[in-house]
Symmetry: C2
Subunit: 147 residues, 2 copies
DNA sequence: TTCCTATATAAGAACTATTCTTATTTGGAG
DNA sequence: CTCCAAATAAGAATAGTTCTTATATAGGAA
């Protein structure tokens, strides 16, 4: 899985600075590191993975800080919590409209894009006020298929 | 939320009998009760809810049996594990092709149907072998909107 | 029907993901 | 630099799920 382009990562970090300024949240080292970790990869890592990676550079960071920071980032709209496959929430810093291919064997989630975005179906207003639409394709990724 | 029609429940129970016969799994009282509980409602209940309801009629049923049975039913294709909203898996015995409206406030999941099913998008084969496609609409349900 | 045994179960301990508590530290305004 | 509300570290607590072990039972065989 290829990494996110450095310019894109830099732009995402700039959004973080802006969002902190706008909401009055402090721009702590921990927030920088945690967001950077999510922003630089497109593997939709879970909290434990992020915790371990951040801990390599910041050995005293705590679980709580990682979970709390991810929740804050989600509130600020900088990351999205993605469907959980087996008990663990996963996070995605890709703000573009996109969809997910979920491997039902290993849980890996890959982004894909549609040429034409589907519209919110008629009849949804009976159920509630729609805010977003996402297509999820489930299947077995190539890696798992080849064992 | 209206209940599932009795004839439909009966048909789902018939599928269970068939599936048990085909796979050599035993048709235990617990499996009957647990599946019946999922099959008769369309609220996509979570395991704890199912546990409590089954326990009313079967006071000694254990958590483990409920979780284990739901996993077996999923393997047999009789129920589907639905995206978790806040840590809890939810289950759905509606075998028809359908899609979900998820309330991001209360977690309630409602089914909806599309007049025309979307096809698996081109380009997915790069990621893996697709098996199913589901549209998820997120928003706030009427109940939550009116507090 | 009764017997047999692999499969399933109950009970509760254990495990895993996440959140809470409390004492301490720190970003950033003034 | 000083101050303090906000954020953090550490680890306890909680919630959801799975595992362990002794017991029970579905369903085939006799």
């Amino acid at each position: 899985m290829k990494a996110v382009a450095p310019s894109e990562v830099e732009q995402r970090l700039e959004y973080l600075r802006l969002a902190c300024r706008n909401t009055g949240m402090r721009m702590t080292h921990q927030r920088m590191e945690i967001f950077h970790e999510v922003a630089q990869c497109n593997e939709h890592p879970d909290a434990e993975t992020i915790f371990k990676r951040v801990r390599e550079r910041m050995p005293t960071v705590s679980h709580d800080t990682v979970y709390r920071t991810l929740a804050s980032l989600e509130e600020m709209g900088l990351v999205r919590r993605v469907e959980t496959v087996a008990g663990r929430a996963r996070y995605d810093a890709n703000g573009d409209t996109h969809h997910h291919f979920v491997c039902t064997r290993c849980g890996q989630i890959s982004d894909f894009y549609l040429e034409q975005e589907p519209s919110i179906p008629k009849g949804i207003e009976e159920l509630g006020r729609a805010e977003s639409l996402q297509v999820q394709v489930r299947g077995i990724c190539h890696n798992c298929k080849n064992n």
